[in-house]
Structure formats: structure tokens, C-alpha cells
Amino acid sequence: MKRGELLGSLEHIILLALVRLDGNAYGMIVRREIEERTGRNLSIGAVYATLERLEAKGYVSSFTGEPTPERGGRAKRLFRVEAAGKRALQTSNQTIRSMTAGLKGHWGTI
């Protein structure tokens, strides 16, 4: 596996959040989903910077929604996971599974 193919921890978490939200995901919803599930309070800048990086890698795609008054007339940017992103997630999950296999007895010492 090439180095560039590995997902960073934040990339991994954000991709998983996008899969969970199933096409209805924009920055703040992704941030909230991660906070609710992991307790990790991310900044919106960190979420978008990571989404931008994932899009550059071809793992996600985005489209612009309609501007709404409650957002100060600003449009949402909705994200969805592409096939390459799903493959990267599978590879990453597989890597973690392989590395953690047989370590059950060691959790107390790690």
C-alpha cells in the first residue's frame, strides 16, 4: 500500500460521518455528528480543510445548495462519498482490523 493511500485519523472519521449522513452532509452537520458520537469538538475550519483535502484526493464530491436567510444568505455545500472514498475506507478499516487482530489480551498494557 502506498503512503498516500492511507487515511489520516480525521479523514477517516469525517469519511465515516459522511457515510452515516448519506448524502445529506454539510460542514456543521458533520461536525455535530462527530461531536455526538465521539465527544470530539472539532472546529468548522478543521472540518472544511479536511473535506477539501478529501475532495482533492477524489474521495468525496461536493455540490452547492440554495442560499437560505437563516444562514445569512449563504449557500450550503453538501458532500457525498465517492467510490474511491469507499475503497479508501475499506482499506483503512481492513488495516486497522489486521493490526488489532489478536491484541485483545494486550489492551490493558497498551
Binding site: 455535530r32 468548522i44 478543521a46 477539501e52
Partner: protein
């Protein structure tokens, strides 16, 4: 219904510093959540949350800018504008020395005016060429002012807040005016 406009200065800061591709979306997200939070908590708590999001969003934004392929172009533009600003300031100082009698108190008053005018012009020029360049330009201005304060280039005794003003307002006048002018221009086009 309660008024729910988020902190203006935090909005300006984000609008000035967030990169083009996700500036509007990120700011819209924050405004949306701010409106939700203000319904369930106090205005103070919601504003504190907004400020914390704004401040914590800046490091990853700058880091992603540094990692991007356009980073070198932005730095080159910032260096070019920095040299232009230096020339402008030198010319202004020379003109002032010809027009006004060299006096310590006059210098203390005119120095910040010349400096801030130069940084505003520099910021607008840099933003006109490339938005990301203003961040590097602001960084260069901060470093220059810090060095000048450290080497005590100013022979006139001035209070600490005078120097602190240069250090804080310098980078801010590089970053914020282009956003404000852009917004005014946008409003002018809409109306």
C-alpha cells in the same frame, strides 16, 4: 424573537481568512448554528461559542493553505507587495520630511497614519491579486514590526500601547479592509 446576528468582528476575521472554496459555506454553517444556539442558551454563551469556532478554525485553515500547491505563488505575491509597501512608506516618509518640520511629536502622530495607510493599500493590492497572499503579507508585517520594536528603531520614548497598536493593527489592516471593501462593492452591485 431574539436578534441573532453573530459577532461582527469574528465574521470579518473569518471572511478575510477562510479560503475561497469554503468561505461562504463555513460562515453560513456557523451563522446557522449560532442562531440555533441563541434560542437555547444566552447570547453571551452563543457568542463565546462563535468566537471559539472562529479562533480554532484559523490554524487548520492556515496549515491547509501552507500545504496547498498555491502556497509558493501566494508567498511570492506577498513578497512583491511587501516590497511595494516598503517603497510606498519610504516615499511617504521622504515627502513628509520635506513638507513638515522634523519634530518628535509630529513624527509620533504621522508614523501610525503612514504605516496603517500603507498596510491598507498593501492588503487591498495583495487581495486583488490573490486572497491567500494577504495572510502571508500580514505575517510578514507582524514579523517586521516585532523586529523593529525589538531593535528599538524608534529613538523617541513611546508608551507600550503605542507599539502594541502597531503590532496588532498592522496585520489586521492588511487582512480586514479588503473584505470590507469587497462587501461594500457587493452591496453597491446588489442595490
Amino acid at each position: 424573537m431574539r436578534r441573532c446576528s453573530p459577532p461582527t468582528f469574528a465574521c470579518w476575521l473569518l471572511e478575510s481568512l477562510l479560503p475561497d472554496p469554503y468561505r461562504e459555506a463555513a460562515l453560513g454553517d456557523l451563522i446557522e448554528e449560532y442562531a440555533l444556539r441563541i434560542e437555547s442558551t444566552s447570547r453571551f454563551t452563543a457568542s463565546r461559542w462563535f468566537w471559539s469556532q472562529a479562533c480554532r478554525s484559523l490554524p487548520p485553515t492556515v496549515w491547509s493553505l501552507l500545504r496547498s500547491r498555491d502556497c509558493l505563488i501566494s508567498i511570492s505575491i506577498a513578497i512583491g507587495v511587501y516590497i511595494f509597501m516598503g517603497t510606498l512608506k519610504f516615499a511617504a516618509d521622504w515627502m513628509i520630511s520635506k513638507l513638515v518640520a522634523p519634530d518628535q511629536s509630529t513624527h509620533v502622530v504621522l508614523a501610525p497614519i503612514v504605516f496603517l495607510t500603507t498596510t491598507v493599500i498593501g492588503g487591498c493590492v495583495a487581495a486583488r491579486i490573490r486572497r491567500g497572499a494577504t495572510i502571508f503579507l500580514a505575517l510578514m508585517v507582524t514579523i517586521t514590526v516585532a523586529i523593529l520594536i525589538d531593535v528599538k528603531v524608534c529613538s523617541i520614548p513611546v508608551p507600550w500601547w503605542y507599539q502594541f497598536g502597531f503590532l496588532t493593527l498592522g496585520p489586521l489592516t492588511v487582512i480586514i479592509p479588503p473584505t470590507l471593501f469587497g462587501r461594500l462593492k457587493q452591496q453597491g452591485t446588489v442595490t
